[in-house]
């Protein structure tokens, strides 16, 4: 059965993707899939180092100037030289294209949205010493979509993410790493910069 599905995919789906993308009426309904590489700049203290991550995204466009982005990414960073953090984001953003022309080579946009984050701090020497939390966040930023071909684009985005949840801080003294979780909700913010490669699969409507 799996072999049959694979054969059908190779014979029918790949040739369809190779053809010119037929756009009906306007750009509403365009769906694309992509991968991205991210940098997270956290500003909670000097012990927080730059995070680096990988992710994937799906874009579904609703009009010539409104697109939506559904994403997941996973970032990791050092906490000084005694611990490390892992951030996993899953969320969505609305993108508003600033130029009226529907498919210019360079298309700047504003974006705003929401995501959920799972954050885990882990001690380098003793992995059983960790702290974790879930949080919700809002994000907003600017980006530029560079349309390399009709189907393919590269996007550069910088956005500010504000996480609302339990605040975790790390400290290290006399070779002991301590993670402290605040009571109640706190705000932890960071800037996320990413480059993404997106490929338009179809015009759904």
């Amino acid at each position: 059965m799996k072999t049959l599905v694979l054969i059908v995919a190779v014979v029918f789906i790949l040739p369809i993707q190779a053809q010119e993308l037929h756009i009906r009426n306007n750009r509403a309904g365009l769906i694309s899939f992509g991968v991205r590489s991210s940098l997270g700049l956290v500003n909670d203290g000097v012990w927080q180092k730059t995070a680096f991550g990988t992710g994937a995204e799906c874009r579904l466009q609703f009009s010539d100037r409104i697109n939506t982005e559904w994403f997941a990414d996973h970032l990791k960073a050092d906490l000084a030289d005694y611990a490390w953090r892992a951030d996993t984001h899953i969320g969505w953003s609305v993108m508003y294209y600033l130029r009226k022309k529907p498919d210019p080579i360079v298309q700047p946009f504003l974006l705003a949205g929401h995501c959920f984050e799972y954050l885990k701090f882990t001690d380098n020497v003793n992995p059983s010493n960790f702290a974790e939390r879930w949080s919700a966040s809002v994000q907003g930023g600017v980006g530029t979509q560079i349309n390399i071909t009709q189907r393919f684009d590269v996007s550069l985005v910088a956005q500010y993410m504000m996480h609302i949840g339990t605040k975790i801080t790390a400290s290290h003294a006399e070779n002991v790493t301590t993670f402290t979780k605040s009571s109640g909700l706190g705000i932890q913010d960071h800037i996320l910069i990413h480059i993404s490669l997106n490929y338009k699969i179809a015009d759904l409507w």
Binding site: Q19, V35, R36, S37, W84, T122, N124, P127
Partner: protein, 193 residues
């Protein structure tokens, strides 16, 4: 100067003659794959690693392809290796500049590695296998010398960090070279003009 000019002219003539022989291999629908060995040079460590790698690549147009790579660390050519295990999975896009049967390419592929470094000599803690984000940038050249076979040369830079070692992260950036025989097939029949 004269030698360079002669080399340039020969390359130009060769590429044009190839183009006349068969200009239609590199086009939308080309599906390509290979299995090869990569020789890597670690930038922060004195280690030269050998990987078994494979990729599958699909051309959505003659200038653009989508490509997925897998790499499996086999061994180091040094006595003291850096890795105990390292597996890399990449996916991204590659831009092409085809000239007849010749194809120059460059691409970007984000991905993940599953990495376990060797435990340092002075440490009591065994470093576990961990999933780490990576980014790969590659350039290369392919010669499509027959209907189903090609020869390729590529160089890539793989940026990677292992988090959670005793004294912070380990920088594991590698420069790799690879080459060999690849296979391809056109999945779309050429349209008659």
């Amino acid at each position: 100067m004269v030698k360079r000019s002669i080399f340039g002219i020969v390359l130009l003539i060769a590429s044009h003659s190839f183009a006349q022989q068969n200009p239609d291999i590199i086009r939308a629908g080309l599906l390509k794959g290979d299995l090869a060995f990569n020789q890597s040079f670690m930038l922060e460590h004195k280690s030269k690693n050998v990987y078994l790698s494979g990729f599958l690549e699909y051309y959505s147009s003659k200038n653009l392809s989508l490509r997925g790579d897998c790499m499996w660390y086999m061994d180091s050519r040094q006595k003291d290796p850096v890795f105990k295990q390292n597996y890399v999975v990449l996916f991204g896009a590659v831009l092409h500049k085809p000239i007849g049967r010749n194809d120059l390419f460059g691409g970007i592929q984000p991905g993940m590695s599953f990495t376990q470094p060797v435990t340092p000599a002075l440490s009591d803690n065994t470093l576990p296998l961990r999933m780490m984000p990576v980014l790969d940038i590659s350039i290369g050249y392919t010669l499509y010398f027959s209907k189903f076979c090609n020869f390729f040369l590529s160089a890539n830079y793989l940026a990677s960090r292992y988090r959670g070692a005793d004294n912070g992260s380990l920088k594991l950036d590698e420069f790799m070279i690879s080459g060999g025989l690849g296979f391809h097939i056109n999945t779309i029949r050429k349209q008659k003009k």
